[in-house]
Point group: C2
Chain length 195, copies 2
């Protein structure tokens, strides 16, 4: 009623996210990486052993196999990742961080520093709200959630560790907090095998 040109909360949020992402991207040129390489490094540092193939990264980034293939190649040339050939399926290849890659992936970035200036309560609130946004975006875009192993329908506590009922694999403690391309959020409508 006040004026026809008023900015809606939706647009405010949209611009806030986009601007934040832009600033973070411009910060992504630290060291000798670019934002895409940094994203790949970051993904590999969080992905569990079932989720480290080029196609998984492409799916996570909403990109293509061809594109991430090149990004991983340049990361390998710089010595931050290395290819490992897994077992059964000879078409696949997996990438893992090298020691220097691991070190680089854990260095703090601008976004972390900015977020550190907020209170614990604020962070928890933002996390809750943004989860809804990301959930909506993922649903709209028909993407996979790539959530944490421990929040998965197929995750089953076992002794101190865990067990994946989908892949029928034993899981170490640290793997509970890694992301998985097969993850199906427990809270969501879990209609079993679709993945």
């Amino acid at each position: 009623m006040e004026n026809r040109h008023a900015v809606t909360d939706r647009d405010v949020v949209k611009h806030l996210i986009k601007r934040l992402a832009r600033i973070d991207a411009s910060d992504g040129w630290r060291a000798d990486l670019n934002p895409a390489q940094r994203a790949a490094l970051d993904y590999l540092s969080r992905a569990n052993r079932f989720s480290r193939q080029p196609s998984h990264l492409a799916s996570y980034l909403g990109s293509t196999r061809g594109t991430v293939s090149q990004t991983l190649k340049s990361l390998a040339a710089k010595g931050y990742v290395e290819a490992v050939t897994p077992g059964s399926d000879k078409r696949t290849i997996a990438y893992q961080l090298t020691e220097s890659g691991r070190k680089l992936a854990t260095t703090s970035d601008l976004l972390s520093e900015s977020l550190d200036q907020l209170s614990a309560g604020s962070l928890r609130d933002i996390a809750t709200q943004l989860r809804h946004v990301l959930g909506a975006a993922i649903h709209t875009n028909r993407q996979k959630p790539f959530g944490l192993c421990k929040d998965c329908t197929y995750f089953q506590p076992k002794n101190g560790n865990g067990h994946c009922r989908l892949l029928n694999e034993e899981l170490g403690v640290f793997e509970r907090d890694q992301i998985c391309h097969e993850q199906l959020p427990r809270s969501a409508g879990a209609s079993a095998t679709s993945a």
Copy 2:
């Protein structure tokens, strides 16, 4: 205490923002634009008449004059923006949207659609929280806020319209909701002329 590998809220928020930005970027290839061109188009659609020069866009994006110069050139080649030469200072140039550019800038994107699935209350909460995050990031990165004209220290209501006390210019109604490279948030520590 529960486990040493637990993911902090800070990292959750960081990953949520980054993933959201990635998905939005992959969506930014609609029409015949790429994400950078889309960002430039979006900026120009919201910038007031004092803020449409390449250097302003570079500052907003945390990029360089050289880079945005090329982006604007390709946007001009596609007919979405056109250069206009302003008055006094012959070094400067300003870009404005063409009719087709304006049309393209107002088409809804993935992020808008996702946000539309949230309640008004949620959107208002997220906006409040993200403003803090962006504020911190801008401060850390020593960037300008690029806030709305009406939220500026130099903004003065005048009749139904407004007046800028910094540039000593009259402002139309619609200009109150545009972003300005000179904006100094009213709430922040406004120590006058620094800009």
